[in-house]
């Protein structure tokens, strides 16, 4: 029998795609709004429930749910950004606590509306690749979506329309003195990042169970990715995500499934102790 290791590496590759999908929005918020948004996972959950609600009404493809989820999350995100994030931004501890409270409120609300039981959307059959490799349909979708999303983000940031975002990320005071509406750009960015998380949730919904707390684990991992990569390098975020996915799968195979998470976080701690600003910054590619 052929070794399952190539399959495990391939699965890790796609798992990394899901990390990247979440990390894209997280990086945007950290880079531009400069807050740790602990409600980011709740927006992923929102997207998954939108996909489930549509599937329950006969619209079985999450590709249709993603835009709807993004619009809903954008509206929520803008509201949250305008009414809470912007005013509370100057208090360093208020935002993580406040966004965490929002996430918990959303989880409780989701539990009341849809119940605590795991829900599920038909994932469809996987594709069989060369050599009998199983190619997970929603793994491919996550990978391609994250690649497109991060590529788009990179393009926007390097183009003229992305100039205000770059400027605000660099120095808000200068951006404000140039007549930019910093507050509006911040909450619109926040809303956009929330929309990205919700779209990710809708796309990933068929791959697992839809539950009120499904956003917690991806939240932590995406935060890890952004911190390790350094939040201003889109390409590094993508590569680190994929690397972590493969590393986690390989550890699960070579060590034990229970140790893969520990190994991943240990590797991250080692990296950060050597490179506190993120590996891209230390590699000298920041500027």
């Amino acid at each position: 029998m052929a070794s399952p290791f190539p399959q495990i590496l391939l699965d890790g590759f796609f798992t990394g795609g899901t990390y990247a999908l979440m990390a894209a929005g997280m990086a945007l918020i950290l880079g531009v709004v400069k807050v740790i948004n602990l409600s980011h996972g709740a927006f992923l959950t929102l997207g998954a429930y939108v996909a489930y609600a549509l599937a329950d009404r006969g619209v079985a493809t999450p590709l249709a749910a993603a835009p709807l989820a993004a619009v809903i999350a954008f509206a929520f995100g803008v509201f949250l950004g305008k009414s809470f994030v912007n005013p509370a931004r100057s208090h360093p501890f208020a935002l993580p606590v406040g966004t965490l409270a929002c996430a918990l409120l959303f989880e409780q609300a989701a539990q009341m509306v849809w119940g605590p039981h795991p829900l599920s959307i038909d994932a469809g059959d996987p594709w069989i690749g060369p050599g009998g490799l199983v190619v997970r349909r929603w793994g491919v979708v996550a990978f391609l979506s994250s690649a497109v999303l991060l590529w788009g983000l990179k393009r926007v940031l390097s183009s003229r329309p992305g100039l205000p975002l770059r400027l605000i990320a660099e120095d808000e005071e200068i951006a404000g003195s140039l007549g930019m509406d910093v507050e509006a750009i911040r909450y619109l960015t926040f809303g956009g990042a929330c929309a990205m998380a919700a779209a990710a949730g809708a796309l990933l919904a068929p791959s697992g169970a839809v539950t009120p707390t499904m956003g917690r684990a991806p939240l932590l991992l995406s935060l890890v990715v952004v911190i390790v990569a350094g939040m201003d390098s889109v390409g590094a975020i993508f590569l680190i995500s994929i690397g972590l996915g493969i590393f986690g799968s390989a550890c699960a195979w070579l060590l034990s499934p229970q140790w893969s998470y520990v190994a991943m976080l240990a590797a991250v701690c080692l990296l950060l102790s050597a490179r506190p600003a993120g590996i891209v910054a230390l590699a000298g590619r920041r500027d």
Binding site: I8, G248, W253
Partner: protein, 402 residues
């Protein structure tokens, strides 16, 4: 730009306040039950301990819903000695320290007459100490570790208040072994969340099936926080087992089954622990290869089971999963029946009645052995449980053969 926090924060504060009030008054099940207890100070109170938050919230909610249903049924039958019965719920969060604190709160502040719970084995061993110290009857519905009844056997005087209606791990392993033999399984894979009862169940099954010439081909436990499903599913399929036993009482069992189907579409799966017993899931899971679910009872097993399922569906709009709801329902039913038989809810009067009596429940008739363990398993007269095969639109009973 100047921001005036007082003005801008007014709206979110108003919204958060409204949300808290909304959650306070419209949260499912337990606050309503608590409010009922407060408004009926003379009611007989049962303290129910289950995780309503955290990774096992789904099972915990079913647990409380079923306990509520059992109490409603008892009250519809006239209550106990003319008194209404009610439940007061403690959220254990799946944590031992919280479970113990909540058990103590229910006994000392809420003045409950008896306890039903908890969900995880770790939590239950913790609250046994509270029940022993406070001399309160504790009926254990779900937690399966052998330690619970071993403690009763070893230190009877201290733990004689503890009775388990659910199956112990050796009994559970015995029932699973009988099913594996019936399906002519020779090699199985055992995977699940890395929690205590899973590990003990895995070891127990291995010991019990060995004389039947059945052996594990692969065993793995994943972290509930980061389950590493892909690798476990690929490794399990690479071991070419005849069946994969998924031991996970939480949401991860759904995700794992999906991964397993992608990696090994032709290997049957048996879910133990209840999470896949929600018949609504059957519509979205790949079922071309059998997916079996082990339950304490199922619609069609007996008239009592069918009546229970129909009541549950009417009350909650969804069918029970047959494990984390059925056993708590029976735990409350057995406790209420014991109160009635004893003619008193006093602990010292109820314990001998529970020790000697027979009590009808959804899963059958409960009798307790010297270690206060209900008789489950394959022995004559024991409660057998059931295994169903999920099908589009429902499930079909496949074991025990009828």
């Amino acid at each position: 730009m100047t921001v005036r926090p007082g003005k801008t924060l007014r709206l979110p504060l108003l919204l958060i306040g409204s949300a808290i009030l909304f959650l306070q008054y419209f949260s499912p099940v337990y606050p309503a039950a608590t409010a009922f207890a407060a408004s009926h100070p003379d009611a007989l109170k049962i303290g129910v301990l289950a995780p309503l938050s955290g990774p096992y919230a789904a099972g915990g909610t079913s647990f409380v819903q079923a306990a509520t249903l059992a109490v409603e049924q008892a009250n519809a039958e006239g209550g106990v000695f003319g008194q209404r019965v009610t439940i007061v719920v403690g959220d254990t969060q799946g944590r031992v320290d919280v479970a113990k604190a909540e058990a103590l709160r229910l006994v000392s502040r809420e003045k409950v007459t008896a306890l039903v719970g908890a969900y995880l084995s770790e939590e239950t061993v913790g609250i046994m100490e509270v029940a022993a110290a406070q001399r309160k009857v504790l009926v254990v519905p779900v937690a399966a570790t052998a330690e619970i009844t071993d403690m009763v056997r070893r230190e009877y005087a201290r733990y004689r208040y503890v009775f388990r209606v659910g199956y112990s791990l050796p009994q559970w392993a015995d029932m699973i072994a009988a099913f594996l033999s019936d399906r002519k399984v020779r090699r199985y894979a055992f995977v699940g969340a890395g929690i205590r009862w899973n590990r003990e169940l895995g070891e127990m099954i291995e010991r019990i099936v060995a004389p039947r010439r059945i052996a594990p081909a692969y065993t793995a436990y994943y972290s509930p926080g980061n389950p590493a499903f892909d690798t476990v599913a690929v490794a399990a399929s690479a071991a070419s087992p005849d069946i994969v036993i998924i031991a996970d009482p939480g949401r991860n069992s759904v995700s794992f089954l999906k991964r397993l189907r992608e990696a090994a579409p032709a290997i049957p799966a048996l879910s133990v622990g209840g999470a896949l017993g929600d018949a609504r899931l059957a519509a979205s899971l790949p079922l071309s290869t059998p997916v079996y679910v082990q339950a304490a009872a199922w619609r069609g097993v007996s008239p009592a089971a069918t009546a229970y399922v129909e009541r549950y569906e009417r009350r909650y709009g969804a069918p029970p999963v047959g494990y984390s709801d059925t056993l708590p329902y029976d735990a409350v039913t057995v406790l209420v029946a014991a109160w009635r038989k004893a003619g008193s809810a006093a602990t010292e009067a109820v314990v001998p009645v529970l020790e000697r009596g027979a009590f009808a429940g959804v899963a059958g008739t409960y009798r307790f052995d010297a270690a206060h363990q209900a008789h489950w398993g394959t022995a004559p007269g024991a409660l057998r449980g059931t295994i169903v095969r999920l099908e589009r639109g429902g499930a079909r009973i496949v074991f025990p053969p009828r």
